[in-house]
Symmetry: C2
């Protein structure tokens, strides 16, 4: 009963053989993405978009709960506006797309398609902030941005991506600092508690910080191949932008002051993290909390009397407490198993004539493959508990994987050896000099991922130059 137009599920490359190809296979075969004729752009298909909607829903809830309001600012930025903050334009100019014509007309001034919206928010804030009573201003925006990347990969690096960008103004540097940290924690919570992706929290080095920021906080996660992924960032902008754009308020004493700002963002890249943290050689593995379908009911011998009716009944019953689906198509059960495994559905429930006779169903876990026979009476209570167990299990497994792939290096020789033998995070001391950071990248290909909030002293000297060490840094090759 195979449909010839359908790709075979078996075609997927093993991740041990070629991790990049495995990733591409999963992205395509789990129906997450299709390619468009625009170089480096992606089409997010219904299944991929539904995952994004679940992430959005939870993150939006937390963004609002922490007092932020959603707004929408323009897609285009006049070139002169982008140039107002010097570091910012230097950082972004090489990777923006330029609109030069509107209809038949050549524009007097080029417009850039927003790569991020700091300067637009700053212009707006200068308009609407006047007094200490107007502070804090806590805005967030959901939208698309464009970065002219040379090498692109679906979700990880693309010409256009979807994200949210928070932009806030505060009366003091300290308040802005608290906000920067607060939003990083919101991101960490969404990653760990919803996506089951464990993250390292820390600060970026000056080299790696956001163009125009005072400092950048980051959450970093480790993929299955031992490469790191910057999963979300939160920037303390200080008052540099406020000075460039004249965002001032009158304080309680009647004195004019510049505001202190933050910005923070998380993108569709999170879907890439999901794939590369939890996926296996049968495809995607989705954490229940963000799985579009948590349980897929698959009727066995569905042509036999009563099977389909019972399967639909189970689905309805499950839908009271979980997101359940049913696959009643005319494909073979085996085909359906592979397909929903590829899509990472956390639990499948098989129900056939013999099961009905025994008043039972078979639940199969996507993460462990474990088969569980359940009486139909306990299905409604057991399945939600099983989903919780899977959610926790995925986070634990990912944490264990990260531990396994986190090593210490006290010298450059150790650094290179361990990066070769067991690629992952390398903890090594750093003197704080840009030169050492550059040299480590040049010699090993690893970049500084973050200076973790939880510092340890594993040695007194810099892994590169041997001078006095300032900070413990996590290093890794990264996406």
């Amino acid at each position: 009963m195979m449909r010839k137009e359908k790709k075979q599920v078996e075609e997927i490359t093993a991740m041990e053989a070629d991790f990049a190809q495995w990733y591409t296979d999963v992205v395509r075969k789990a129906d997450l993405v299709d390619y468009a004729s625009v170089r480096g752009s992606m089409i997010i298909r219904p299944y991929g978009y539904a995952i994004w909607e679940h992430i959005q829903k939870e993150l939006d809830r937390q963004i609002k709960e922490t007092g932020h309001e959603n707004v929408y600012l323009p897609l285009f930025i006049p070139e002169s506006l982008l140039q107002k903050e010097k570091d910012h334009i230097e950082g972004f100019a090489p990777e923006v797309a330029w609109v030069t014509h509107g209809g038949e007309e050549k524009l007097a001034e080029r417009l850039c398609v927003r790569p991020t919206s700091e300067v637009l928010f700053c212009e707006h804030y200068a308009n609407i902030i006047h007094s200490y009573r107007d502070l804090p201003k806590l805005y967030n925006q959901w939208g698309n941005v464009v970065r002219w990347e040379k090498t692109t990969r679906p979700f990880l690096r693309s010409l256009e991506f979807l994200w949210q960008e928070g932009h806030t103004c505060h009366a003091t540097d300290e308040e802005a600092g608290e906000e920067t940290r607060r939003m990083l924690e919101v991101y960490a919570d969404v990653c760990e508690d919803y996506l089951a992706v464990p993250v390292l929290r820390g600060r970026k080095t000056d080299k790696e910080k956001f163009a125009g920021a005072k400092f950048t906080l980051t959450i970093e996660s480790l993929m299955h191949d031992g490469k790191a992924l910057q999963t979300g960032t939160s920037h303390h902008l200080g008052s540099g932008f406020a000075e460039a754009f004249g965002i001032q308020y009158t304080d309680k004493q009647g004195k004019l002051q510049h505001v202190h700002q933050t910005s923070w963002g998380i993108t569709t890249r999170l879907i890439g993290a999901l794939i590369m943290v939890h996926g296996d050689n049968r495809g995607l593995v989705l954490p229940p909390k963000i799985a579009p379908v948590q349980v897929m009911v698959i009727p066995i011998a569905q042509h036999k009397e009563g099977v389909l009716d019972k399967a639909y009944e189970l689905k309805e019953q499950l839908n009271k407490t979980v997101r359940a689906g049913i696959d009643a198509s005319d494909k073979s059960p085996g085909w359906k198993f592979s397909e929903h495994e590829m899509k990472g559905v956390p639990i499948r429930i098989e129900i056939g004539p013999k099961d009905i006779e025994k008043h039972q169903a078979v639940a199969v876990r996507r993460d462990t493959g474990e088969k569980i026979f359940l009486s139909l009476d306990e299905l409604e209570t057991r399945i939600p508990l099983l989903l919780e167990e899977i959610q926790k299990g995925l986070l634990q497994k990912a944490k264990a994987h990260r531990e396994e792939k986190t090593n210490i290096a006290l010298s450059m020789d150790e650094f290179k050896a361990v990066l070769e033998s067991n690629p992952g995070f390398i903890k090594a001391m750093w003197c704080g000099d840009r030169e050492c950071e550059d040299q480590i990248k040049e010699e090993t290909g690893a970049t500084s991922r973050c200076m973790p909030f939880e510092q340890e002293v594993i040695s007194k000297t810099c892994v590169c130059c041997g001078q006095e060490a300032e900070e413990l840094v996590y290093w890794a090759k990264a996406y």
Copy 2:
């Protein structure tokens, strides 16, 4: 206690004096929009965006309930792709923005910023549709689009706007026709039931239809100044795009067939309709179902003991069933009344020391100004009923206004006279010739809004040429 940085609410222009200025005043003073330095673009502020989120939430629910799935396609369209369907490119070329440079590089082919995404959906559909089993494909996209408009007004016509665009493929022309009509009904329902904006349902003339469509269905509403607003459209695309893009499927008999397509969209323009249908000289009037705050509690003499506590208690109590807010700022009550009237909050509740003594509160309706004294015991049950009453009342009032401003014209002299004396919809017969349609526009400024589904014969001859009439048409000056 007035704050000098706050604009006075009284500054608003009367709509009878200058409707366009009244609109601009409301848009600004109700904090819906701010201007950006990008010509013709708008910043949608938190209050405006919250209204959009409420519209989105309900529409998205109905779009999903009718079997559609959300996807996301790229922002950019290569010029060659846009040119594949001849009528389509002719219609859109004059109003698109062109990206010619990425980073420092000049592009080999220009990219247009999507004005609508038909061609991208077509390219994707050609990739993923093969068999009758793949049909129907029912996709929807939420996003931003750009149209290079010369004259712009917030929400009504802007360089960039937010919308949803549905794109579907069907096996037969008839199914596509049903879909076109179904989605128009979804739009009509959201407009009438949620926005309390009554709409005319009908078909556009060939002159006014979508570039590349077989026909366009439309809902049209009437603004307070007697001008019409095209509020939503649903297009039957026939198989023209499918032929241009090669979207074919194998039918049950094994024969290759072209699909039949639809597309349909609704935009942030709806917020403009809300303003101009319900607003008055004190500002916005919001229908309860989409009002971000349905009830605003305003404490009177809030410095007196117990007042603030009681006000917060009421707010919490109300929040169980409605969206309630509280204004406990240090502005005067009168100032707060004006401000929340300007923002169109459906009900305000005043509570002061005397009210507390009498165990009562005063509810004031935004739509009628009516004051209602309510015992605190009945507040929780009465307020939701009152909100329902307001919702119905707004729709009835808008319907009555439309009736009043809908006239019949049997000759061009009558047409002009009535358009002058009581501007609004004019019902007049039409022969079906483009020439008459053009002439009516030239002589009167009115355009054909739609050929209503509910046809009547009010005369046997065309209002313009006197030849045999084919259709009843609603005409109006329009936004």
